[in-house]
Amino acid sequence: MTALLDVRELAVHYPVRARGLTRRRTGAVRAVDGVSFTVERGRTLGLVGESGGGKSTTGRAILMLQRPTAGSVLFEGVDLAGVAEGELRNLRRRMQLVFQDPYASLDPRMTVGRLVGEALDIHGLAVGRSRAGRVAGLLELVGLDPKHAGRYPHEFSGGQRQRIGIARALAVEPIFLVCDEPVSALDVSIQAQVMNLLADLRDRLGLSYVFISHDLAVVRHISDRVAVMYLGKIVEMADRDDLYDQPLHPYTKALLSSVPSPDPNVQRARERVMLRGELPSPADPPPGCRFHTRCPHAQELCRVVEPPLVSASAGHVVACHFWRELRSTPVEVTRARTSRRTS
């Protein structure tokens, strides 16, 4: 069986224009620069990485909310990049987006019943009594009381508003969701409610997700497979436990070692991998390995030659010239106790 979603060499370059009247094109932000992955039916691919890595752009490009500069997005075997705007509408029923900020995406003057019903109307999915029934069913599905269909978004808490956003996305019976930081704006005690809901819906309805978050713990919890992005590229991708328990790329190691653990014993034992410098601009990514300006292991080769994404073991790919050496030799110079001065 082919994968539900097959993304190949996807690239999105945003033009950078000069200030002033001419708005001459002076370059491009290579927000996504040759990214490939697949998502199987009923599975979740997590996308992690720091700000500006290209996670949201990837998500939007999959849904053709942002037209790719290059590459293909095969959804159920059809290349969406080749589909005209008018015909995308039907396909969009099958794929939906859940945003970070539920409040900003909900019209404050509409009742929840209308907000959810509107999604049905757009695609002419249900009318009259069956429409009311569908709305009630959707609210129930996401754990909201159907009796509250007459309320307005501001009368709900953040977590409830995110449920409304999810109900809206589910109204058109999609089989695939891009969830872009769906719990990042929520309080800790509410986050778990929404994560459990998403996992439950996936299992009950057989949905597939691309789940985007900068929170590595959240991504570990929900994903089957995880891809780490840095400056528009996937630097490492593996099954969830492989990636978290045996990270190979220096960036993945640095990320994982930087997350402070709520368990003081884990936190104390943690050996931090320190990075040098700052995140370079994606408009002008470093030559060679894009990570070399911050990598504690960078060699001359890294500054010149871009490391290809290679298979390290079954299903585990990594883009680093020295992943083999780094796996066998423990990290030396880079250790620092968390309580010590950084400079």
């Binding site: 953040g158 409830q160 800790v188 778990a192 959240v218 402070p260 003081p264 990075l275 968390t338 001065r341």
Partner: protein, 333 residues
């Protein structure tokens, strides 16, 4: 209530007792902070953790004498080096703020002036508060920027705030905070806007101020991981009250308040966690608070009618371990 979570030994730098803050609004009185007591010793890092709206920032603002300006009603006691601050004229507060307490906020851009170089801004603080001469202030500013880890500090002192990245700007803020040689730094979500690798560096830096320079730190965050990395002692806030207060290890490893325990169980871990037990419902509205325990409507461990009908006081369940609950959870082995 006569008892208060006090840190034994040294005389506290800051001692807050039964602090309450309410904001009159059109819908009614918002009880933002309710009978909060805590103390901070010299060189100690005290964490405040809690969800959005639990009263962390208002507590910090009250400690700086900044809530009265917002029309808030307050009661209780705030002692700084043994001296009662509530009721003092604004001029006295200002003096304490300038000489003893420094702040680091989530968004350094709001605290930095975009039209002056960072070196100039730090020099100005030094000249006003410590009466240093122009040249001397300049030198000290460069020194401070170097101390917080700005590479090539002398050259960068001439740069403007927008020329720094988020993490570097937060370092500049910390250099500024250090300029008046404070005894207490209040850091309110200092790393919430930063990427995780940068966050780790800034947390290291703040922690080192306490370890190496003996500065006391009041750190506020909604992130229990940040608490674990930073705090000696943790105060857990819920709906305007401190519900649990103990050493960081006790709170994180052996929590005894139902909210703290439920919160830890609802937290995904980067080390992996098979089941997330969500806390159902949401925190109460501060205008119409439940009569009993504020966590009662959501509490998975809730007991009898007492929990429903009266708000518990903080009790010391073990030495230095305070819990605001009728129900004391068994310490975990």
């Amino acid at each position: 209530m006569t008892t208060t979570p006090a840190n034994d030994r040294a005389e506290p730098l800051l001692e807050v007792r039964d602090l309450s803050v309410g904001f009159p609004t059109r819908e009614g009185l918002v009880r933002a902070v309710d009978r909060v007591s805590f103390s901070i010793n010299p060189g100690e890092v005290v964490g405040f953790v809690g969800e959005s709206g639990s009263g962390k920032t208002v507590t910090a603002l009250a400690v700086m004498g900044l809530v009265a300006a917002q029309g808030a009603i307050e009661s209780g006691s705030i002692r700084f080096r043994g001296r009662e601050m509530i009721g003092l004229p604004e001029g006295e507060w200002r003096r304490v703020r300038a000489r003893e307490v420094a702040t680091v906020f989530q968004d350094p851009m709001t605290a930095l002036n975009p039209v002056f170089s960072v070196g100039h801004q730090i020099s100005e603080v030094l000249r006003t508060h410590l009466a240093l001469g122009r040249q001397e202030a300049r030198e000290r500013a460069v020194e401070l920027l170097g101390m917080v880890g700005i590479p090539d500090a002398r050259a960068r002192a001439g740069d403007y705030p927008h020329q720094f990245s988020g993490g570097m700007r937060q370092r500049v803020m910390i250099a500024m905070a250090l300029s008046c040689d404070p005894s207490l730094i209040i850091a309110d979500e200092p790393t919430t806007a930063l990427d995780v690798t940068i966050q780790a560096e800034i947390l290291d830096l703040i922690r080192s101020l306490s370890t190496d320079m003996g500065v006391a730190v009041m750190i506020i965050s909604h992130d229990l991981g940040v608490m674990s990395a930073m705090a000696d002692r943790i105060n857990v806030m819920y709906a305007g009250q401190i519900v649990e207060s103990a050493s960081a290890v006790r709170v994180l490893v052996g929590p005894r308040h139902p909210y703290t325990r439920a919160l830890l169980q609802s937290l995904p871990r980067v080390e992996g966690q098979a089941i997330l037990t969500a806390i159902e419902g949401a925190p109460p509205d501060l205008i119409s608070l439940p009569m009993g325990c504020r966590f009662y409507p959501r509490c998975p461990f809730r007991g009898d009618d007492r929990c429903r009908d009266s708000n518990p006081d903080l009790r010391e369940v073990d030495t230095g371990h305070w819990v605001r609950s009728f129900y004391d959870l068994e310490p975990v082995a």
